[in-house]
């Protein structure tokens, strides 16, 4: 079987989705690109079902918060083609105030808990998710703790001020 290169996959995606596939990069050999929420599921479905790329496996879903950016919440998908032994990283930037992303549970059932975790920690609302509840934190928490505005510890504690520890 011929080796499939990152360039070949980008060419495939470019042909299909045009300028919806943006900022292509290869940090440490891992193909990374951005896309938009409206075509996200189509991109995932296309990569999964395309016989050349064959990204049959959803490795991970998570998010990253960049408070200084306009669209400050990046939802990151890692896909893996076990046949071709290549990975791809897909990012979608959404507004941190109203983070709405379509669910990937329609493509992989395994996305269910990964999306629940991302919702729990970042507040990303996955539209169409069958059971979008908190998963690791308590239901009464009220905030999404991995967002950068929430400090690691309660700032009102007097016994653990950073200055006492030279930080």
């Amino acid at each position: 079987m011929a080796e499939v290169t990152n360039q070949a996959i980008i060419a495939l995606l470019g042909e299909k989705f045009g300028d919806k596939v943006m900022n292509v990069d290869e940090p440490y050999g891992l193909l990374t690109f951005e896309t938009t929420t409206d075509v996200l599921i189509n991109v995932l479905q296309f990569l999964k079902e395309n016989s050349v790329a064959n990204f049959n496996f959803l490795t991970d879903i998570t998010a990253v918060h960049y408070p200084e950016k306009k669209h400050g919440l990046a939802v990151v998908y890692h896909l893996h083609s076990m046949v071709q032994r290549i990975r791809v990283r897909i990012k979608v930037y959404v507004d941190a105030q109203h983070p709405i992303v379509p669910t990937a549970t329609t493509v992989w059932n395994g996305a269910n808990w990964m999306e629940r975790e991302t919702y729990d920690f970042f507040g990303v609302k996955f539209e169409g998710h069958p059971d979008l509840r908190r998963i690791l934190n308590m239901d009464e928490l009220g905030v999404h703790p991995m967002l950068k505005q929430y400090p690691l510890e309660d700032p009102n504690r007097v016994d653990k001020k950073d200055e006492y520890f030279g930080r």
Partner: protein, 404 residues
């Protein structure tokens, strides 16, 4: 309580279903797992898993710690095979920093990672035996976990949460006692493992309890993002050590065992065979070590590798580097890196985003237990309660990794 909360209790007087709270602390589940099950007699009609009882916010803590202080956090993910997590994290940072390890360090890492894999599989397989009623096998093989912990003790001083190795190598060389203990282990363990297999592999009671129970097809397993022995038991030969070799695994000769039906018996056999392969790997690594210069146990990267204490007190450069590393002021490239290792339960991934600061901007752990466990409640439907218990044992869910 939100509107989409599952209904735990069934107050309908006409209903014959019984609600059973299995967990959070149930002696049969070996860890903090809560499953609220609806039972019709002994059959499970539906189940809801509740997790997060030992969530410790590692990803948040990691955003406030320099790289070398994150190693102890990884210990506490899958605490049955801490060295694999430690090494996975070191390799992630080394990949970010573009550090090449000397061959000897790679081989030492293979030894300790394979020991960890054996100890992880010992725990899982003996507990499957225990849960099917074979206490002898549990006690018999479990002592070798103790021997592995004694080897850890020689190498790093700790037993369970090892914190072994440093970014750029190991903190100290393996001593002669460690090698003697490894050799002793390699001599004694195969005998015990053979006997363990003789007790269970063709045991009628064991086969009746496990074969054909909780069958999973490869399609289902891939759909639910399963990895590790669970995925291999269904017949998919995916192993990170082979598909993306790290730590010189490509130089070793070993096999990836696969099952055919994906039932509990297959998972048991796959793990057993992996222990044999791990023994082979350790033997090969010891053989390769003989050809390497004996004194090397870390890469020559003083700006990233914590210097020895004697050096720090007597040598100006070492003091400077020590200070820079401890204060988290190393020059790491601003980049994103994903690195995966084959953990005891599957693909353990580290997604690290560095923005040039003292701490990671974001660190995400791809925890195999968390992702494997989500299929437990759906697949329990229609299963007998006692089968669901051994199904959970055979999935080898480690609470620390599940909840991070």
């Amino acid at each position: 309580m939100s509107h989409n909360q599952p209904i735990y209790t069934d107050n309908d007087p006409q209903s014959e279903l019984v609600t059973l709270n299995l967990g959070p602390t149930h002696p049969a589940t070996h860890g903090v797992f809560q499953n609220v099950l609806q039972l019709d007699g002994e059959r499970i009609v539906s189940g809801v898993s509740t997790i997060g009882y030992i969530h410790r916010a590692f990803e948040k803590i990691a955003e406030h710690r320099p790289f070398y202080q994150i190693t102890p956090l990884t210990d506490r993910l899958n605490y049955c095979s801490s060295p694999i997590n430690n090494m996975g994290w070191h390799m992630t940072v080394e990949k970010l920093l573009n550090i090449q390890m000397p061959k000897r360090v790679d081989y030492l890492r293979v030894i300790i990672m394979e020991l960890a894999r054996i100890s992880d599989h010992i725990i899982c397989n003996t507990i499957i035996g225990q849960d099917t009623g074979a206490t002898t096998t549990f006690l018999y093989l479990f002592q070798f976990r103790e021997h592995i912990y004694e080897i850890y003790e020689e190498i790093c001083g700790a037993r369970l949460t090892t914190n072994v190795g440093r970014i750029g190598g190991f903190e100290r060389n393996f001593n002669d006692i460690a090698f003697a203990k490894i050799n002793k282990f390699l001599k004694e363990f195969p005998v015990a493992l053979r006997e363990f297999e003789n007790l269970l592999n063709r045991n009628r009671i064991f086969i009746d309890r496990t074969a054909g129970v909780a069958c999973v097809t490869p399609e289902q397993a891939l759909d639910y993002s399963w990895t590790g022995p669970l995925l291999r038991a269904t017949g998919v030969d995916y192993d990170v050590r082979v598909s993306e070799p790290y730590s010189s695994y490509d130089e070793f000769d070993f096999e990836v065992p696969v099952g055919t039906r994906g039932d509990i018996y297959d998972r048991f056999l796959v793990r057993n065979e992996e222990m044999w392969q791990s023994v082979r790997l350790i033997e090969q690594a010891l053989e390769k070590l003989k050809k390497e210069p004996a004194g090397i146990f870390h890469a020559d990267v003083p700006e990233f590798y914590l210097p020895a204490k004697e050096e720090v007190y007597n040598n100006m450069e070492a003091l400077i580097y020590h200070f820079k590393i401890v204060m988290g002021e190393i020059d790491a490239p601003k980049a994103e890196v994903y690195h995966a290792v084959e953990g005891g339960n599957g693909e353990l991934g580290f997604y690290l985003i560095n923005d040039g600061g003292r701490t990671p901007y974001r660190l995400h752990f791809r925890r195999p237990s968390f992702i494997n466990y989500q299929m437990f409640a759906p697949m329990s439907k229609g299963m007998l309660l006692s089968d669901a218990i051994i199904n959970m044992s055979s999935m080898n869910i480690i609470a620390g990794e599940l909840d991070a």
